[in-house]
């Protein structure tokens, strides 16, 4: 076969064109590069600036792991934790995320969120699990990169506090960081912390949240709300629990009493008051001086007006030099009219007396200061307080003064009685003018008009026992007066003008003296036995008409000053007679027996219609009787050679005593004895010139033939002797006074038979 040369088939030349034909595969590296590049770029772009934060300690902060959390969002990561070159601080470098780069501003607060498990709050629980984190609160300053971290967790974590204020107080016992601040029950802030200022006074820093900052005014008041308050009062038991948070931490409450003024500024200072009432007491200060200050507590003791709190004791200081206690009281606003002159302040304490129990509420609630309003038109702020255990200061009435030489038994608080009705009280007992004890009385307003200017006051004794014949009068004037006596007054006679405020009266020892209101009379007595000042009565016809006021010896006599009750002027006229009646027991009789019990008294006899006098001379009763009898009786003289008959020997007529011997004297020549016989005036007609007198003294026995006759006179004559007389039926002419008869030793028998009918005058 003739085959042509096998031609090599021409496949053509494959000319590789490297670089010309690009496979789609190369898209992948480009895409990968783009993706990685975008990733790195976005990663780089999401990174913000790096900042440094200084901390004192940085527990649990780990580089690369710990996040910066802002409002719960991770806003950065800790890149580095270093100590500064002095090893004093920890510098934490934080790489912020780009969106959080605004945090890099001055004023931003960084803190380490740690778990806090406390009584009042528990926070940062999540950091227990997640580890501590860095937290931030945004500030508003210019950009910055270096910060100082806070060592405590701020109270408002989201934004700046609106207001930071300072509260000052004497002590802040339980308030601490985190204690809430309430405004009408809404928490508007919290206590940031407490420290001491340079004066070592506690200072509380508080913050008010921004949204509530406008609630605080310069006149706002802060007071601490105790965790739990137990208020015990009379009839009330109140337990305040101020919420659980407040229970654990205490709380501060704020309110603005009265018109709000301008808003408070940052760092303004306020006082922190102990309680709401103290906070309300914003008014004027009063300065009261007390004698003693037991139980007065600043910030606790209240000032009350009729039981309603109107103020609070602000401070109690002892004034050693004056020996007093100075108390400053802060009035609640609206009670400024208590600042008037004359306002009275009294410490009220529990008091248990027979008269009652008062101030019992102070046993539980503590003492308080009671006050009464004075004259508001004359403002003053200095007062002298009283430690009256009873709130007598409230008695706004008539004040009068009593003075006396001595005032026993009556004490402060003793009642003032008018006819059995208590119309006032004794406010004070002290020395008045002339060092005389004096009492200040307060007559209650409603009874003030009963006190006339001529009223007379006397002490009401605790008990008085009056005993007289047939009368035993034990007077117990109420148990209250038994305890502390009392003062009574009355107007004897017509009431005069109403007494004026501050009038002065004399205080008499008892009602009788008080009744004896007339000017004193002075009586001289030869002896003053049994005469007692203030007790011995003056009587007229047995009725008490006056009282002896004073008994004192003057020049060998006794000068008795007495007062007569009004209306007995006739006893003060010239010629009035006064005689001391004492008990007298004699065979003649017993007289004045009542004086054994009731003491002697002075019997008065009215004077003639002479002018009024104030000086008399008195006698004892016997003397005056004699005198009276002498004046009224009929005197004759019986003469005897010698006689055993004595003075006072009775004179009988037919066995009836018609007179007595009043004097016995020797005749001028000494030859005989003259017995002056006083025949009672009615029996004077029995005497005639031929009347016979004979001695009936003793016992006469005549021994007769058949009988022994023993004749005796009346028994009385046995002791004193006696004289009997008889007048013959044919009576001689009447005798004149002073006629002298002879005394026979014994009667003749016919004398005894004489029985003339002679009319005798009616007795008196």
């Amino acid at each position: 076969m003739n085959k042509p040369e096998i031609e090599k088939p021409d496949y053509g030349e494959v000319v590789p064109r490297p670089g010309l034909r690009i496979s789609w595969a190369w898209l992948f590296p480009v895409l990968a590069a783009l993706a990685a590049g975008w990733l790195f770029w976005s990663n780089w772009k999401s990174q913000g600036p790096e900042i440094e934060v200084e901390f004192a300690t940085a527990p649990g902060i780990e580089p690369g792991k710990t996040n910066l959390v802002y409002r719960g969002v991770v806003a950065g990561t800790v890149k580095n934790v270093l100590l500064d070159n002095k090893l004093q601080k920890v510098v934490v470098s934080v790489r912020l995320k780009a969106f959080a780069s605004e945090l890099a501003r001055e004023g931003t607060l960084f803190w380490i969120d740690q778990p806090v498990i406390g009584l009042g709050r528990t926070s940062g629980i999540e950091s227990l699990i997640q580890g501590n984190s860095l937290k931030a609160r945004m500030g508003s300053g210019p950009p910055a990169h270096h910060f100082t971290g806070s060592d405590v967790v701020p109270l408002s974590q989201l934004e700046d506090p609106g207001l930071i204020l300072t509260l000052r107080s004497a002590d802040v016992p339980f308030l601490d960081r985190g204690s809430p601040i309430y405004y009408r029950g809404v928490i508007i802030g919290a206590v940031r912390g407490k420290t001491l200022d340079p004066n070592r006074k506690p200072v509380l820093s508080i913050m008010i949240e921004k949204q509530f900052a406008n609630l605080v005014h310069v006149n706002s008041r802060f007071w601490s709300l105790p965790a739990a308050a137990v208020k015990l009062g009379a009839g009330t038991l109140r337990i305040d629990l101020g919420g659980l948070k407040a229970l654990l931490l205490g709380a501060v409450t704020m309110d603005c009493f009265g018109e709000p003024r301008e808003a408070a500024k940052e760092n303004d200072e306020f006082g922190l008051y102990a309680n709401e009432f103290a906070a309300r007491a914003t008014g004027e200060a009063l300065h009261i001086t007390f004698d003693e200050g037991f139980g007065l507590h600043p910030g606790i003791t209240e000032l009350r007006y009729r039981g309603v709190p109107v103020g609070l004791v602000e401070s109690v200081t002892a004034n050693i030099s004056a020996g007093k206690i100075d108390v400053t009281v802060r009035l609640a606003s609206g009670y400024e009219n208590l600042r008037g002159e004359g306002s009275a302040f009294t410490l009220v304490r529990p008091r248990v007396t027979l008269e009652g129990i008062s101030g019992i509420e102070t046993l539980i609630a503590g003492i308080y200061i009671d006050c009464t309003a004075g004259d508001a038109s004359r403002p003053t702020d200095r007062f002298v307080g009283r430690n009256a255990s009873e709130a007598v200061a409230r008695d706004q009435g008539l004040t009068v003064m009593l003075h006396a030489k001595e005032i026993p038994t009556i004490d402060k608080g003793a009642p003032v009685v008018l006819r059995g009705i208590v119309v006032g009280t004794v406010k004070e007992k002290s020395f008045g003018a002339n060092n005389e004890p004096s009492l200040t009385l307060c007559i209650r307003e409603e009874f003030a008009r009963t006190l006339a200017s001529n009223a007379r006051f006397w002490r009401v004794p605790a008990t008085s026992v009056e005993a007289g014949p047939g009368v035993l009068n034990i007077e117990v004037s109420g148990i209250q007066t038994l305890w502390n006596g009392g003062v009574a007054f009355d107007v004897f006679g017509a009431p005069g003008e109403p007494a004026k405020q501050g009038a002065r009266f004399e205080l008499y020892a008892n009602e009788r003296i008080a009744r004896a209101g007339s000017p004193p009379i002075h009586i001289e007595f030869p002896n003053g036995q049994g005469l007692l000042a203030g007790q011995t009565q003056l009587r007229y016809l047995g009725i008490p008409v006056g009282l002896v006021e004073d008994v004192k010896p003057v020049e060998g006599k006794v000068l008795v000053t007495a007062r007569l009750d009004s209306g007995y002027d006739m006893l003060r006229r010239r010629g009035a007679a006064f005689s001391v009646v004492r008990s007298k027991i004699s065979l003649q009789g017993v007289s004045g027996l009542e004086t054994l019990v009731s003491g002697v008294y002075i019997e008065c006899t009215p004077g003639t219609q002479g002018p009024l006098a104030d000086r008399f001379s008195g006698v004892s009763a016997e003397a005056s009787e004699e005198e009276a009898a002498e004046q009224t009786g009929f005197q004759v003289v019986v003469q005897s050679a010698s006689s055993s008959i004595g003075v006072n020997a009775p004179i009988f007529y037919r066995g009836v005593q018609v007179g007595k011997i009043i004097r016995k004297a020797l005749a001028k020549d000494g030859a005989s004895v003259g017995l002056v016989a006083l025949i009672d005036r009615p029996y004077a007609p029995l005497l005639g010139e031929n009347t016979k007198f004979w001695d009936v003294s003793g016992v006469r026995a005549s021994l007769g033939f058949l009988a022994i006759k023993i004749a005796t006179g009346p028994l009385k004559s046995l002791a004193l002797g006696g004289i009997e007389f008889a007048t013959p039926p044919k009576m001689g002419p009447r005798v004149k006074p002073g006629h002298v008869f002879a005394l026979n030793a014994s009667p003749r028998p016919e004398w005894l038979r004489w029985a003339p009918a002679i009319p005798v005058a009616e007795e008196h």
Binding site: V14, P29, F40, K65, E126
Partner: protein, 168 residues
């Protein structure tokens, strides 16, 4: 797949380049975030190794280091070298052996991605612990896939091609 040798070569080269590019983010970016009782911890591959080593598990650290860092890197490096040497009539036998080795361990290199996938799927214990795959894992997987593909595209016979030889 019918592909010309030159396009195979190009694909292999492109895959290797892609793998190398992706290798960087795969190691820099976290592969996963573990949150164990609240602690959220992003982990890069190297960070994970470090973590293991720090906690005393150094054999584990070694294994992970080898499997996740050394092996992929060696793969990429070996393939790169093989591709660079393409068409040169030297060390062809060694290249063939190297490629065989790379191919055989290639099947193991997905172990950590597989582990990550399982962890992310299983390790969901609610609030207490959780594992979340992060972009790094994706890149890591992509690196491995790239190296696999590159090894696949580059047929062993191509080692023996020289630039003078016409390709088929």
């Amino acid at each position: 797949m019918k592909m010309s040798d030159s396009s195979r070569l190009q694909w292999a080269q492109a895959m290797i380049v892609t793998g190398l590019i992706l290798y960087v983010p795969a190691n820099v970016l976290p592969v996963m975030t573990m949150s164990i009782v609240g602690t959220v911890e992003p982990l890069t591959v190297l960070g994970g190794v470090e973590e293991l080593y720090d906690s005393g598990l150094w054999p584990m650290a070694a294994v992970v280091f080898l499997a996740s860092i050394v092996v992929p890197f060696l793969k990429l490096a070996s393939l790169s070298w093989i591709l660079l040497m393409h068409g040169k009539p030297v060390l062809q036998r060694q290249r063939g052996n190297l490629r065989r080795i790379v191919h055989s361990i290639g099947s193991w290199s997905m172990v950590d991605v597989f582990l990550l996938a399982i962890l992310a799927a299983v390790g969901q214990l609610g609030a207490l612990a959780g594992v979340k795959a992060e972009p790094g894992g994706f890149f890591f997987a992509a690196v491995l896939v790239c190296s696999l593909l590159a090894a696949e595209f580059y047929k062993p016979r191509m080692i023996w091609q020289t630039n003078s030889e016409p390709s088929q």
